[in-house]
Amino acid sequence: MPVEMSAREAYGRTLVELGRENRDIVVLDADLSRSTMTSLFAREFPDRFFNCGIAEQNMMGIAAGLAASGKTVFASTFAVFATSRCFDQLRMSIAQPQLNVKIVACHGGITVGEDSFSHHSIEDLALTTSLPGLTVIVPADAIETAQAVKAAAATSGPCYIRLGRPKTPLVYAEDYRFTPGQAVTMRPGSDATIIAIGIMVALALEAAESLASQGIDCRVLNMPTLKPIDRDAIVQAASETGAIVTAEEHLEHGGLGSRVSQIVSRYRPVPMSFVAVKDTYAQSGKPHELLKRYGLAAEDIERAVQSVIPRKLSDQAHR
């Protein structure tokens, strides 16, 4: 296994594996099969692959009809087109009827880079978590991606899996096993907790490393299943560390940060800080430039932790 790999490459390879095992797997794409890597499946199983052209709404409807007829359907395109462009189809044709469609979208977030705001997906998690009945997963690396895709195929029901574009560092070893709905403690710690998803997990670990050298002992949680979320892990982190920072490649509102803050506000109020895209569209640029520009670098996580710790409540006891 290399040190870096793109999640979508892992997706493409896993699909082929699954296709060999299960004849009921059907794959759809919307004229982006070379980017989403469904082209690997298409090459091996041309009969079970349907390119729907640049018509995402129709693709989701076709996916639903196939699923209603017993197929396990994977439908792929860029995250922004898989959600923004066909939200009503996800709602009506897939989520509410609980059909067995796995929407696996690549090019999530702003590390899409130079293609600029039309191709950046910074609202897909707000959208998909607004669909009762839809499971939402954001793997942290290529290894977790392969696991999540397999887990999704093994479970009936609709699911959204968000992948990134670039090659990113692996945070897991080959033997890692993903469990839907469970947070993963990437690093223990008691002074504060960083809860991260996607590519931000690697950056959170980097930040925690640096904070450790300053004597700050940070817990790092990976929260691959954004919905249903691991409430217990969040409440525990709030209780045990008294401060939480969330980190996500998404708008500040509507994604991980707001989900965690609602749980914290309800069960265990503690000060929080949010590492996310502030309320703005991102511009063109290299992925690492954009992460920096929009406040998503490891240093931003570090600063967020530093700022939240002094705000810890002197008394966390409930009346």
Binding site: A64, G65, L66, A68, S69, K71, V73, P97
Partner: protein, 302 residues
């Protein structure tokens, strides 16, 4: 696949639904062999159900339900192989109601077929009823698709048709669309894709009642000429009088013979058909009859 048992299943339902020659359904013999009179009577019964249940509910969409009565009658009591005792029978022919606001019509047909008790129709739109204001796949036996947001049914139908082809299933898929619904771009995405995928097991039926919610389609968003549009997307087009049962049946039979391309049946209809004061009256697109109006309507449909 249970192709062997499929015929008996299909016919057993049909036989119970009305006194119609059983083999006609399982074979692909044209509909004129059926007892047309029974179908006509069933159509009238469905109309009575429609106006009654919406009046009882105090809301709902009688206009666009009434215009498609003959189409749905021909499908559920004629052409389609299906099994009310086993709504999920994999071999069943499919009916997808894309214009989900015509739910009262579909509920009436399903009830008369025996998917659920006819009495249940009076629970339409009430809390905890299985008969939701718009069709809901998760609650109503026999309903294939959750609908109500227009424009999504044809795509769904393509998916079912492709699955049938992959599994060498002989079933056919019928999708009922509104004419106003054809304003939606997703419909044209699906029109293009169905032709591209050559889903000849798919039939679209446009309930061409010339009205949408705000009024006449020619005033709101002109669709005409409709047939050339579908033809230019490489569909086989059949135009019929959608209230003429023999024409409906013949069109559906013809569609079965068309190979290599999907078929659309443009059914020229009248919105509110059968109830004089509802016919071509946009008000009754989305309003139910009052008690008084109901009485008048039922008298006309007696």
């Amino acid at each position: 696949m249970e192709t062997g048992s499929s015929q008996s299943k299909g016919t057993s339902r049909a036989a119970s639904a009305a006194n119609i020659s059983a083999e006609a359904f399982a074979s692909s013999r044209p509909g004129e062999e059926l007892s047309l009179e029974d179908m006509e009577q069933m159509a009238r019964k469905l109309r009575r159900h429609i106006v009654t249940m919406t009046a009882k509910a105090g809301s709902g969409h009688p206009g666009g339900s009434l215009s498609a009565v003959e189409v749905v009658t021909a499908l559920y009591f004629g052409l389609m192989r299906h099994d009310p005792a086993n709504p999920n029978w994999p071999d069943r022919d499919r009916f997808v109601l894309s214009k989900g606001h015509a739910a009262p019509l579909l509920y009436a047909a399903l009830a008369e077929c025996g998917y659920f008790p006819v009495e249940e129709l009076s629970t339409l739109r009430q809390i905890d009823s299985r008969l939701q204001g718009h069709t809901d796949r998760t609650t109503t036996p026999g309903v294939e698709m959750s609908a109500g947001a227009l424009g999504q049914g044809l795509s769904f139908g393509i998916g079912i048709a492709l699955a049938g082809r992959l599994d060498f299933q002989p079933y056919r898929v019928h999708v009922l669309l509104g004419d106003g619904e054809c304003d939606e771009g997703q419909v044209w995405e699906a029109v293009m894709a169905a032709a591209h995928f050559k889903t000849d097991n798919l039939v679209a039926i446009v309930d061409h009642n010339k009205q949408q919610l705000d009024g006449w389609t020619r005033d709101i968003m002109n669709l005409e000429p409709l047939a050339p549009k579908w033809r230019s997307f490489d569909w086989h087009v059949i135009e019929i009088d959608g209230h003429d049962l023999p024409q409906v049946i013949a069109a559906l039979e013809t569609a079965k013979q068309v190979k290599g391309q999907p078929t659309v049946i443009i059914a020229h209809t009248t919105k509110g058909k059968g109830v004089s004061f509802m016919e071509n009256n946009p008000e009754f697109h989305g309003r139910a009859a009052t008690a008084e109006e109901l009485e008048k309507a039922l008298a006309e449909l007696a």
